[in-house]
Amino acid sequence: MVMGAWRRDQGSDTAAIARSVDEPAAFAELFERHFSAVHRFLSLRTGEQAAGDLASETFVIAFRRRAEYDLTRPDARPWLFGIAANLAREQHRSERRRRETWLRLVRERPPGSENDVLAPEDAQVNNEILQAALAELSPEERDLLLLFGCVGLSYDEIAEALSLPLGTVRSRIHRLRQKLSERLRLPAEKVTA
């Protein structure tokens, strides 16, 4: 049942885009369906402050390019997240500032917590270190991890979104997962050094 519902949703992306070529207002369906996820992705990718504008811009660009959409693709998420990722990369300067802020914030954590080995239930600390680790990655690496681990796109969909070969996506994600896993096992002090 769940799969059936999921497939129907996927199909309706294409239908909405196709219809929007003659009925532009039909594009609003795509917005209502995916804006929240695109916004959350961009929030993790660039910070909440920039996410609103970038997510909004993502859908305006998608709307303008809707006639170019490959209607054989039933799910519009790779297309939308590809646009979002490109926009996020253009925010490189502000992204760098954010990364520096994150590192500074993590360094400024209370001394008592600095030597703690991460406890699995300590989600707050885990998230800080995870975000610090993400901030140290290149924009492309971050896109790969967020699209795979957070958004839940498949390897194929990520390859489509980021215009990368499938093999490259698989190998990079594998390597990034290992790297992240090691980071999460390290004492907090080493992570933030």
Binding site: D22, S36, G52, V60, F63
Partner: protein
């Protein structure tokens, strides 16, 4: 499960959803692109296929093409019996006009969060119905405010209400269950879901009012329908006003104020209804049920002794946070049952003796069996951090309904 994937999923789960303001801003921006980029008109007007992307190299050519397109669209619409108004071409209200001032003053004194945020500079005359003129202005959140002069008006600030109806009495005195004779109906339907409107009568007759469709950013159809004399007699009165989609499915339905039905709300998709909670009384259980609607909203109702009582009107998405609309106290089976929508975390019942009872919201609904001390006190709403929401305090006595069963 791999710990790094767990961590990423946890991060995703705690990443907040966009705020209503972010959503509204983004919607407005997209609607600007939809309206401005391609000269869109209401979905019902799009009977003639056209190119999605017009070339921009030659402005004159584009304008000429747009004009031809508009003529074709309007011709096609007329051929199909539709009345269409391209909002951007409708007459603007001068800033010194009465209509402009009415809209400009609309938000004066509105409680926080309840402002319409309308764009008064965009007040436009979109239709005339006999001696009445309809003025409409868009809101920043994708909705609109409309006013019929002479007559009245209102706002759907989010543009998510599928159907709004205003009734005018056919005999002197206010419309009420004791005076249910309607002389005129006016209102609007949302073009996102609705293509047709029916006024249904007790004797089985149906009138389909002429709708005037107004393009983006309004994207709605408006109507004014005088009720014939034969339908101002007992047994022939209005039973419901019903909005339908292109497949004839019921999107939304409204009955006269005070008309009570023992059936679940017609807007509810009953095959997706869920039972939220039950309160046992000596006369049997009171069950709170909810169900989604075709317009992304939700209906909430009580069932007691085989009869349904609507808790609040079925609310479109985004309106469930208006606490004044969203709950009531129902005297059922000798109990006072507090029931309603709750887009917050909890409500607090403030007793006269200073004690407080907290009722958690479950599945975005509030449902509680009130004690005498509760019913004699006040109620306030708490936000997600447990803090009282300003101006949410209400006397419970004001929320008690009179429909004792």
């Amino acid at each position: 499960m791999a710990p790094e994937l767990d961590a990423l999923r946890n991060l995703w789960q705690i990443t907040p959803e966009p705020s209503e303001q972010t959503l509204a801003d983004a919607r407005a921006r997209l609607f600007d692109a939809i309206s401005g980029g391609n000269g869109s008109v209401a979905a019902h007007a799009r009977l003639v296929p056209r190119r999605a992307m017009l070339p921009r190299r030659r402005l004159g050519f584009v304008l000429a093409l747009a004009l031809i397109l508009l003529v074709l669209l309007v011709s096609a619409a007329v051929a199909f019996g539709l009345r269409i108004v391209v909002f951007g071409q409708a007459q603007k209200a001068p800033p010194t006009s009465r209509e402009f001032k009415i809209f400009a003053d609309m938000d004066v004194g509105a409680p926080p969060g309840m402002e319409s945020n309308l764009i008064a500079n965009e007040t436009r005359k979109v239709a005339t119905f006999g001696d009445k003129t309809l003025w409409v202005a868009p809101t920043r959140a994708g909705g609109f405010c409309a006013i019929l002069i002479p007559g009245g008006g209102g706002c759907d600030r989010l543009g998510t209400f599928p159907l709004t109806v205003t009734y005018s009495g056919g005999v002197p005195g206010p419309l009420s269950p004791g005076n249910p004779v309607v002389g005129e109906i006016s209102g609007s339907v949302n073009a996102r879901w609705v293509v047709a409107l029916e006024i249904r009568f007790q004797d089985g007759d149906v009138i389909k009012p002429q709708l005037v469709w107004v393009s983006q950013p309004i994207d709605a159809g408006f109507f004014v329908q005088e009720i014939p004399a034969e339908h101002r007699q007992p047994g022939h009165l209005i039973s419901a006003v019903v909005a339908l989609d292109r497949d004839g499915n019921l999107i939304a339905s409204q009955s006269l104020p005070g008309n009570r039905s023992a059936a679940p709300p017609p807007d509810a998709l009953l095959d997706q209804a869920t039972q939220v909670a039950t309160i046992e009384t000596s006369n049997g259980p009171v069950v709170l049920r909810t169900a989604p609607t075709r317009y992304g909203g939700r209906c909430t109702w009580l069932e007691f002794k085989g009869k349904a009582t609507q808790v609040v009107p079925c609310l479109p998405k985004g309106y469930e946070h208006q606490q004044a609309l969203a709950f009531a106290v129902h005297p059922l089976g000798g109990h006072s049952i507090l029931a309603g929508e709750c887009g917050y975390s909890a409500v607090e019942l403030l007793h006269r003796d200073g004690s407080v009872r907290r009722v958690e919201c479950t599945d975005q609904a509030v449902f509680a069996d009130l004690t005498a001390a509760d019913a004699d006190g006040r109620l306030r709403v708490l936000d997600r951090r447990g803090r009282p929401i300003p101006r949410s305090t209400t006397d419970i006595a004001r929320a008690i309904l009179s429909d004792v069963r």
